[in-house]
């Protein structure tokens, strides 16, 4: 207080002093009074208590409560500004006497990382850990934080699974190591584990309740030496999310806001009405039926309905976040509240999130510290679009159908021909069907940290994640054209998922001269339970009465109806763990981890397993021979090895489960729902990692490079046995769930590379670039006794299109090789034909049952003169060869510009939609490429059209088959025409920001204000013909399928970050 008063009087006093000095010491030196203000770079909060020192002189002062200071110094002196939690800064005194300073928070440097139950200085870690700050993360304006990891962290492959608002992404850290287990990393948010999700299904993502604005930093633990402490859940890596916490200092109140809209990034080339009519007329001429009078004169027809126009919209999104944080040395707090609202680009999809967070830390006594992280979130989602497949339905509807008819009814197929299938009206479905999900989530932890003795402390933690979900579905009665009338039906579902952990551990650290030592030991018990009930009724008296009890009571069904899904259950895990770290002379670091896990998922004889790892790091920079080389700021070599265990299987697979099914004989009966494997055990992964980190030229250039080799043995497969086993790995009524078996071995090798540089660092202008590159090679080494014949296949058109075999990556595409269409008589000589069940090639004939001009030719790869399944080959992998991200940040005065590209190279996508939309026999809608169907012509117009030597194809280079009413050739058998290159470069983000000058703001009681404009998914460069080549999947055996996929929208936003005074 005294100091404050004296500083307030300072100007007068100083003036006196300066005058005296100038009068009497003129010529001795130009020492004068330097004044200024020190603020935080992040939120412009004044940094009271910051120290200012004149370098090489024993002279210093500190800033007052407004961050203001004053000190005497000469021109040419260097002032050093220091504050705990901030990076120190040095400024040389010039001619001016005012020096305003913005100190950068230390955190943004990510000098500390979470290494499992504790933090450690980044410089002392031995494992492979990448980190990004919350600021970096928020650049792309993500709805959920997992979306924003793409391209930001080397070694992490992120693929969007659905562009539905709040929809999930698939995240794989260093490849796919498990086929039926989850490949998702473990998410730990402030110590609360979010259990991995195998398949969030139609767009619901458990991670979407977290507001990206609250994230302080994310650490991605990649290799075994880093993850082993988390044990069996961490085989696929760990993503540790740390939320912002309170900090010592005056309260800071900030408000973040953005609003904008989203639009569909590209459109598929569907035919318009004229094109459709022209095509149908041509086909009818060949078929001899199906000529449609309304299409008689295509030239008089308009464009018809563009179903993509009808379904997709410019959709708004808005976000508001208010945060208050502050604290004194004893208690620090953060309280934030946020609201987020996003409509989907497809009708019938939107997402709203309300959340409140409270983070508290309290140093209760000098030996006890307590605290909590608590989040309450409420999410409202409309998933009618995803639940009703409106996108693929829209693409299937022909342009001759109106969205709404003139009488106000919904348009739909009215053509009564049996071969024209009735189709739903997607706009109607998205509009009239209600499918709302609500989720209430509480998650958080409380802890007590007890200082038992010097260097020895005990931490007790209780954390939990409690999810309460409801889903409300109502489908009114409707009739679409000639489709059969749909009865109204409603259903309601409620579920809860509880997850709790009790964790106690001791930490100890000590130093003996050059040896530093710390250790950790603890116990953890985890329990998760889930419970679900559902009820449904049909036949509601009115479409306005939508409460379940309004339906016909005799049609009531309940959760038991869908008995093959398990509505109640849970699992448990118990673990003991320990870690030691040694450091010698700050040069050699050694880490050892051990953990013993017991899991309820395994039979008693295989229940417990030990995970261990070790890491070594050599801080080369600290060796004498590098110590004095100024251009090298840091250089470190890391080596790690570990054996980790994975338990990614469902509960209770080791016994045969009996489920109740309804039965005409006894009411209910017991159906055996799985084939049990009583010997199932843990999946083991051997993990080697070597890495080097360096930073040069005053930290202007830094990089990190890691190579790794992870080999998973005893791969847990829900092994798809041949069909005669009566089992199925997917949905298949009447089949038992395939058994989980420890077969096979899969290897993932690769590297990840991250480099950042400050290219230009001028007074008013800076340019920074960072690049990440991830390369992973996945290879199946062994697949159990079935050898490379093990049947890990997915079929399309009842033929295998994706398979997993030894020597290839998991889930390779598989099929025939397209070799043009039969176009000349010679083609029938040079190309083998498919065979019937007796092995005889089908005849060359224009009539039914024959192969004819315009049919697709396939390569006879084994040269046996016939086309059969032996002619199939591998057509590429849905797994990218490389994923990369390039981020550029420019600062000019108060402007900042961020441009971020991410991309993927070498992956294939199965363009499933194109198969039907370019098939002339199809009776839904078409892509415009259908118009290039193989056109048959006669050599001699008077000759026979059935004479093989009298016919040819006028457009022999087409890929679209001719207009036959016969498909003996199996034209749509899986082949490379359907498997497209999915490589892309996406401009993920462009943000332009402007920081409003403070002198202006101070008048309106605002401490800092930044406004910005942002475009996400601005553009994409790709050869892929579908809407979006980024097609993620949770099932590695069926990855890369694009069948009317919810594309990621292009998003335009405008926003502001405001900190109040």
């Amino acid at each position: 207080m005294n100091q404050t008063i004296s500083i307030r009087k300072l100007p007068v006093f100083l003036w006196l002093v300066v005058s005296i000095v100038l009068l009497h010491l003129d010529g001795y030196a130009q020492e004068r009074q330097i004044t200024g203000k020190i603020v935080s770079n992040e939120d412009s909060a004044p940094l009271s208590g910051a120290t200012i020192q004149v370098k090489m002189k024993n002279k210093s002062t500190s800033a007052n409560e407004n961050g203001q200071f004053s000190i005497r110094a000469n021109k040419g002196d260097v002032l050093i500004f220091r504050m705990i939690g901030f990076k120190q800064q040095e400024i040389t005194i010039g001619d001016g006497s005012v020096v305003n300073v913005r100190l950068k928070a230390d955190r943004t440097d990510l000098d500390e990382v979470v290494i499992g139950y504790a933090k450690a200085p980044r410089k002392d870690i031995t494992g492979s850990i990448s980190s990004i700050t919350g600021d970096d993360l928020r650049q792309t304006q993500p709805t959920t934080f997992d979306q924003a990891l793409q391209g930001k962290v080397a070694g992490v492959v992120v693929q969007q699974v659905s562009g539905q608002p709040g929809g999930g992404v698939s995240i794989q850290i260093r490849g796919v190591s498990s086929i039926s287990g989850s490949n998702s990393p473990l998410f730990v948010i402030d110590g609360v584990i979010i259990p991995p999700v195998n398949d969030p299904g139609s767009g619901s993502n458990p991670l979407n309740a977290i507001n990206p604005a609250e994230i302080e930093s994310i650490d991605v633990l990649k290799d075994a030496s880093a993850t082993a402490i988390y044990g069996s859940q961490a085989t696929n890596g760990v993503v540790v999310i740390t939320t912002k916490r309170g900090k010592i200092g005056a309260p800071s109140i900030s408000y973040d806001f953005y609003t904008g809209f989203q639009e569909i990034p590209s459109r598929l080339p569907t035919v318009d009405l004229q094109q459709l009519a022209t095509f149908i007329n041509a086909r009818a001429a060949v078929w001899g039926f199906d000529s449609r009078p309304e299409f008689a004169n295509p030239q008089y027809l308009g464009k018809g309905t563009d179903w993509q126009d009808a379904l997709f919209r410019k959709a708004p999104m808005t976000s508001h976040t208010m945060t208050i944080r502050g604290g004194d040395p004893r208690t620090q707090y953060l309280l934030s509240a946020s609201y987020f609202n996003q409509d989907g680009i497809a009708l019938g999809s939107d997402f709203k999130r309300y959340s409140v967070r409270l983070n508290l830390d309290n140093q209760t006594t000098n030996w006890l510290k307590i605290g909590t992280s608590l989040q309450l979130a409420h999410v409202d989602e409309n998933v009618a679009a995803t639940g009703n497949n409106v996108i693929s339905t829209a693409l299937n509807n022909t342009p001759d159908i109106a969205v709404t008819n003139s009488d106000g009814s919904w348009g739909a197929v009215t053509n009564t021909s049996g071969w024209v299938q009735p189709s739903a009206n997607p706009v109607a479905l998205a509009t009239i069907i209600k499918d709302l999900r609500k989720r209430n989530q509480i998650f958080g932890n409380v802890y007590a940290e007890i200082q038992l003795a010097k260097g020895l402390s005990l931490r007790n933690e209780l954390s939990g994640n409690f999810d309460f979900n409801t889903e409300d579905h109502f489908s009114p009665s409707y009739t679409f054209g000639k489709g059969t009338p749909s009865q109204s039906n409603g259903s309601s579902e409620a579920s809860e998922n509880f997850y709790t952990v009790i964790r106690n551990f001791l930490t100890y650290n000590h130093s003996f001269r050059k040896l530093k030592f710390d250790a950790l030991a603890g116990h953890e018990a985890q329990e998760s339970t889930f419970h679900k009930v559902s009820a449904g009724r049909r036949n509601f008296p009115s479409n306005n009465v939508q409460a379940i009890d309004g339906g016909d009571p005799t049609t009531a069904t309940n959760g038991g109806d869908n008995s093959l899904s398990n509505p109640k259950g849970g699992s448990a895990q118990e673990s003991y763990f320990g870690r030691i770290n040694f450091s010698w002379d700050d040069k050699y670091l050694l880490t050892g981890n051990i953990r013993n896990d017991g899991s309820s998922k395994f039979p008693t004889n295989n229940r417990w397993v030990t995970t261990y790892s070790g890491g070594f790091a050599w801080k080369i920079k600290n060796e004498a021979f590098l110590k004095d080389i100024g251009s090298i700021n840091d250089l470190k070599l890391r080596l790690g090895y570990g054996l980790t265990n994975n338990q990614g299987i469902q509960d209770n697979t080791f016994v045969t489960q009996l489920t109740s099914v309804s039965n005409g004989l006894s009411g209910t009966a017991q159906f055996q729902s799985n084939l049990a494997n009583p010997n199932v055990t843990w999946e083991k992964t051997d993990y080697y990692n070597a890495g080097i980190d360096g930073s040069f030229f005053n930290n202007r250039l830094s990089f990190s490079f890691d190579v790794y080799d992870r080999q998973t043995d005893g791969l847990l497969l829900k092994v798809p046995l041949p069909l005669y086993s009566g089992t199925s790995a997917g949905y298949s009524p009447g089949s038992m769930t395939a058994p989980y078996v420890n077969v096979g071995k899969v290897s993932n090798k690769g590297f990840d590379f991250q480099i950042s540089s400050t290219n230009i660092n001028a007074k008013n202008f800076s340019w920074k670039t960072s690049v990440t590159v991830s390369r992973n090679v996945n290879k199946v080494i062994y697949l159990g006794s079935g050898g490379d014949q093990a049947n890990l296949s997915t079929s399309f058109n009842n033929d295998i299109i994706q398979t997993t075999v030894v020597g290839q990556p998991i889930g390779q595409f598989y099929g025939y090789v397209f070799d043009g269409v039969y176009a000349t008589p010679n083609d029938f000589q040079t190309h083998a034909r498919p065979v019937n069940s007796a092995g005889t090639p089908y005849p060359i004939s224009s009539s039914g049952g024959g192969i004819w001009y315009g049919d697709r030719m396939f390569k006879d790869l084994n040269g046996d003169g016939i086309i059969d399944s032996k002619d199939k080959t591998f057509l590429g992998s849905p797994i990218p060869k490389f994923q990369f991200g390039v981020n550029n940040t420019f600062n000019y005065k108060n402007f900042d510009l961020n441009v971020f590209f991410s991309g993927s190279y070498g992956n294939k996508v199965f363009n499933q939609l194109a198969v039907s939309q370019t098939d002339p026999q199809n009776n839904t809608s078409y892509f415009t490429s259908i118009l290039n169907y193989a056109r048959l012509a006669l050599v001699n117009p008077n000759g026979a059209a059935s004479d093989v030597n009298n016919v040819y194809v006028t457009n022999p280079n087409t890929t679209v088959v001719g207009l036959r009413n016969d498909n003996t050739n199996g034209n749509n058998r899986p082949n490379n025409l359907f498997i497209e290159d999915g490589s892309f470069i996406r401009c993920k983000n462009i943000t332009l920001g402007y920081r409003v000058p403070e002198d202006f703001l101070s008048k309106i009681h605002i401490r800092s204000l930044r406004v910005y404009a942002n475009v996400s998914n601005a553009f994409i460069i790709t050869k892929y013909k579908g809407m979006d080549p980024e097609v993620g999947s949770w099932n590695p055996l069926q990855a890369g399928w694009d069948g009317g996929y919810y594309a990621q929208p292009r998003v335009f936003t405008f926003g502001a970050n405001i900190t109040l005074k």
Binding site: G418, N504, T656, Q672, G734, S735, T968
Partner: protein, 530 residues
Amino acid sequence: MKSINKIIIILLCAAAIAGCKKSFLDRPSNSQISSNNFYKTTSDLRLATASLYAGAQWWRWNKSAMLPIGDVLAGTGSFGYSQDLVQLFTRTITAQNSYVSETWIGLYNIVAQCNTVINAIQQQADPSIPLTDRNAAVAEAKFIRAVAYYHLAVYWGAVPIIEDNSKLIDNPLLNRNIIRDVYKFATKDLTYAAQHLPKTDEKGRLTTWSAQGMLGKVYLTMAGVGKSGGVRDQALLDSAKKYAGNVCKNSGLSLFPSYYDLFKAQNNDSPEALFALQWTAGASYGTGNDLQTWYAPTSEVLPQKNGGWQSLAPTYDLYRMYSAKDTVRRKATIMLNGDYYPELNQAGGGYKATGTGMKKHIIGNEKDNNSPTMGQWSSIEHNAVLRLADVYLVYAEAILGNNSTTSDADALLYFNKVRTRAGVDPVTVITPNLLRVERRVEFAYEGQYWIDLVRYSYYDPTNAVKLLNDQDATHGRIGFSYDPITKIATRDTTALPSALPATLSSFTLPIPASEMTSDPKLAEPPVPYY
């Protein structure tokens, strides 16, 4: 004081670290039972076997095999559209055909459920359950497994035999087993079932008569395997005669009096039904009887007016099998333009047919059947897989055996019982052709005709092939229209053949392409099982 606090805390933590109760990691499912602790009483066994009589594992065969293979492939029902069904009708079946793979999956699903029940009862049933009850439960499962293998053998010939699915975990790739052994396996199961099933049981359950009747049918089929020139194995014919005859004479069962009413849901599980699928109302997609939903000629008569997507029309070849007097069976089996069915869509005043279509399995909507939860996926019709009438005709055929005619009194007695029930005149002499026609008419749209043709092809391939080709040659394998005024059926006699010419290989379905890729050993010659 402070140090005491610390000590207390340390002790608390030590207690926590010492670990949880041992049972902490035992987490049996709360919503499912495991087979380890289920089979405690006879009624538990009954619940386990009840699920074998219907449900998801039977759905595929019921929907994709019984009519598409049993009748469409055989030339009884016709299809003009729906690619994979057309393939069956035109004999251009590819290995990608979905009906073929559905049938394969469905039958092996049945086998898997039966195997698991049999093994669980044998290994885990509580010893306090009376042995006869345990054996009877195993016998039910063995009967159903035999039915599945019987159909596998008829459709594909040599197929892999699986008795313990869990062995596939270690050894998934199997060879096909020779056709004779597949039939032999079925007869062994049925013999066991005949010995251990009771003479009577509650409605819908299997009895020893079911097993003996089925045994007669399997022996009759097996008698032709590997034979030619129209001559069958006499010893096997004798076995067929023995078991079928035993059912005819000693079971005390008799035909249901009305052929027409036999197919109404209110007469489900009549004594004539030796094995009928026990479908239930309210079943969800893929677990119930959806025959009428797919194959009805109209959605008008269906629950919620939903369905009729793949209307299954009769061929002229079937129509001409009906003699002038055979009106009851005709009207119960197929609809002709103008036919009136008061029991269908009763609320709408009944249904008057506007074209030709299938009638059998069409039982109307939920109100017609007084079953509110009956829906599009859950018809309550308990369609029979084995009827007493079938056993009667098997008996007659076994007696006829390798003769060209028979006037055997027993053969005539049971043969004529089937005819007189239908209101047609009895015969005095039975010939092989007469028998075939009788079976075709009696069992049309019950999936039997293809079985009959395959059986025929075993011992008289030339004539069996000719029979199929004659359908086209005589312009029979084709739909027709019917004029209700003139009562004349008209078909296009100038049309090109609808199907590819049949050969002997036409009687064997291709193994699904994906299965051939999964198990290349299926391409190898079949091996003996015994």
